[in-house]
Symmetry: C2
Subunit: 239 residues, 2 copies
DNA sequence: GAGTGGTCTAGACCACGGT
DNA sequence: CCGTGGTCTAGACCACTCC
């Protein structure tokens, strides 16, 4: 492989790790060896290793080398669910076949004091306020409560809300740059009881998302209320 | 500032952003200007900007520049809680004055089939199995259920479990390198009812942590069950 | 002391955004 | 077309691990 770029090196190493090729020593080859093998620069090799570390596959120790992290079948399963995608579509990505969105409420309104305190939007600006229920395998699993800054997004209709709002954004050239997210467990509200399949549970998970466009402006405040026991959020912390 | 290192540049820029110095243009100076101002290299400047982006303060756009993200007082508050520390101590870091740990159970046992399936530890190895309740401001807020690989950690005693296990690790030269974490909302178990101040709630949050040492070996499986409404987990997603 | 990753310099060229 | 950040090269030196 001549002059492999960062991504080729990353993919190749990832494949080998998952295939167990480095399992004996539980170490990656040293940087100089990888540079030689891939006929690449130290920059590209280090970037590939950084990506493997971000995936939770390896850990670099100064003076010792790049160590492979144990991964039993169980910890592999542990890694399945994702939390770094855009809309709520990601919650059930590819896991479920049957999926439906019910638009419960679709309004345009002006941000008042109370809504401003909740959403961090300025008082007086127009927003779309949308409530939708996600029905997964026939179960009312997620209640999405969206507020979009109407001045900074392309026009929305109820029909679009029934499909994917994020896809609509993408088509119209609006790019979500950064999302700040907060996860909480909350006592269920009357609206949750009304719209979600809570069973005997009286709490919901609440994922609050604040999204920014590539101008740095907040365009969205969303609460996603989800039923217990069905959703996992994974995360990796490195020292 | 002559020959400022990455961290000095990062701190200086962060301070200025928070002080609103770049608020007019909502842009950072271009890389070449920063290189000149700090008499530093492009490497250091770019690394500092990368750190600012990881903090959710800025966003880089190729061809346009480094954009500041809006941060209203509310979104600032939104950023408060952390989720990237080690033990459960972090959950209430500096927010609460009164804090106590009750050790409910402290055992050594051998991993059997069922525990192996749950914790990803191999069948047959010895583990410490510890249950502790964290009492915050007089409220039984968190139930910690720990399993530590006894062969890979320094000896534990009930007295240590009453204090901080992680501090004990640190003192004895055991370094936690990586933690894989999963967040869920679950129906409360009988143990949760018994030990936590659930009030009328019948669910808990469950933070499952799998920790690895700097040899890449799993040393810990922990479930932290926490009561609703009191804890926030923050996260930043960038495109 | 030898080996290894971490930091840093000084450049070159490319890809994208806006005019 | 120009300005900007993204990728990449080819080195130097430092800090840490381990023998």
């Amino acid at each position: 492989m001549a002059n492999a770029s960062f991504n080729e090196i990353y993919q190749a190493l990832k494949e080998r790790i998952l295939a167990g090729r480095y399992s004996v020593k539980m170490r990656l080859p040293i940087e100089d060896e990888l540079i030689e093998e891939f006929h690449s620069s130290r920059y590209a090799v280090r970037k590939a290793i950084a990506q493997l570390a971000a995936d939770g596959l390896v850990y670099s120790v100064k003076g010792r080398g790049v160590v492979l992290l144990e991964h039993t079948p169980q910890t592999q399963q542990f890694n399945l669910a994702l939390n770094n995608l855009n809309g709520l579509q990601s919650l059930n990505a590819e896991r479920h076949l049957d999926y439906r969105t019910d638009v419960v409420s679709f309004q345009r309104r002006i941000v008042d004091q109370a809504l401003s305190a909740q959403t961090a939007f300025e008082v007086g600006i127009p927003v779309y306020a949308i409530q939708r229920v996600r029905v997964v395998d026939g179960v009312r699993a997620v209640l999405d409560i969206n507020y979009f800054n109407a001045q900074r997004i392309p026009e929305l209709t109820q029909e679009i809300a029934e499909q994917s709002i994020y896809r609509h954004f993408q088509k119209n050239g609006l790019k979500i740059a950064v999302v700040k997210r907060m996860l909480r467990v909350e006592t269920a509200t009357p609206l949750d009881y009304q719209l979600l399949a809570l069973g005997t549970n009286n709490c919901v998970g609440n994922m609050i998302s604040i999204a920014f466009n590539d101008q740095g402006r907040q365009i969205e405040y969303t609460e996603s209320h989800f039923i217990p026991n069905e959703f996992n959020f994974n995360e990796l912390i490195r020292n």
